[in-house]
Symmetry: C2
Subunit: 221 residues, 2 copies
């Protein structure tokens, strides 16, 4: 059996994107050098301009990779499962794993900060996430896992704000990333204590502990 | 009585900084134009280069303004007052007010995101804040306002992460800023429910409600 061969232009485009990701992570948007990206990707400047007309085009492509990956992770969580809180905990760790392990997503997260604000890309991304999160929280309310005077749309917004801080952290170097899983764990501890009825709390704490341990093992490995 | 006259160079420097703040907020770091900044400040390019040799110098000066203002707001909260939680609530709203009302601080917050990561300026700023916050939380524990199995240094880190998200939000336009106070209020609701003993909780909820109302009135005005 023969593998379908990737078209040559696609191979070049991918090499450029990967090289750009490395440069943006290392140097940030304004210092990243197009010459270095071309050299590392092994392509001519002409080949690069065939695919991307400006540095901003490249950054936008990475923002799109990041945004697609995070939203598809979120879309993969079953909204009809009746597992509102569990789905949300799982998702936040899955999203953090994407940023931790995928260089292009990590670069995209950083570019989301540095250039995503233009044209409202960052705001609409955050709004999309908040909408999904709210759906899961409403489910959690319906199944009695959440009882609180705080309105769920505000809690959803707050989780998104937290993730924004995490995204900022995660886009930095590996050292800065160390506290990521721990910070997420703490937000959930606060949220569970505030939102979940006492009788169900120990179950969720145990669920969170297991997911946190798994995530920490994955990041360490 | 005669006012002490500000030296001419100082006046020029201030005009340039103010103009740069406006440009950075409007266009972001990489698109901001030095020509426009000079025109708005009413100075020649030569005068600008006397004070700042590069665009990055300008951005760094604004980061320093922002960082000084936030840290001095934090330093002004009495650490020996025995009012750990109240001091922290007050401080988070005071810090948000600085970003909301001071154009140079707002520009500095944005530049903290866009260029502050270089040379670790952003990380050491966040670490400074976390250290102060931890001191106040330790005080709160000592006075019995906080009882929790969650370690206070992790809660401090989480608040800082939240503030990082808020800083990111606040550095955007006024529209994005609208949810700022509300998001802070929700983080505190979650934290108070998780950390404060039941018997003392209603007092802190009321304290938070009053501070939130005041902040909202200030931002609206």
């Amino acid at each position: 059996m023969e593998m379908a061969k990737e078209p040559r232009a696609e191979v070049t485009r991918r090499a450029i994107i990967n090289s750009a990701a490395t440069s943006f992570i290392h140097d940030g948007y304004s210092s990243a050098s197009l010459n270095e990206m071309c050299a590392r990707a092994g392509v001519t400047k002409g080949a690069m301009y065939f695919h991307f007309s400006t540095k901003e085009d490249l950054a936008r492509a990475l923002v799109a990779v990041y945004s697609d990956k995070i939203l598809s992770t979120l879309g993969a969580m079953p909204e009809q499962s009746g597992l509102g809180i569990e789905s949300l905990i799982d998702w936040t760790f899955a999203a953090s794993k994407v940023i931790a392990t995928d260089t292009r997503a990590k670069a995209g997260a950083r570019m989301m900060q540095e250039i995503g604000r233009r044209n409202g890309v960052s705001d609409s991304f955050m709004a999309d996430i908040a909408k999904h999160v709210e759906t899961h929280l409403d489910q959690a309310v319906a199944s009695g896992d959440v009882q609180s005077e705080i309105s769920m749309d505000l809690v959803a917004q707050n989780l998104v704000m937290q993730l924004r801080g995490l995204q900022e952290e995660a886009a930095g170097d590996a050292q800065a990333f160390k506290g990521f899983v721990q910070a997420l764990n703490v937000w959930w501890q606060l949220a569970l204590a505030a939102l979940v009825p006492v009788s169900r709390r120990s179950y969720f704490y145990e669920f969170l502990r297991r997911r946190t341990d798994r995530a920490q093992a994955e990041f360490a490995g």
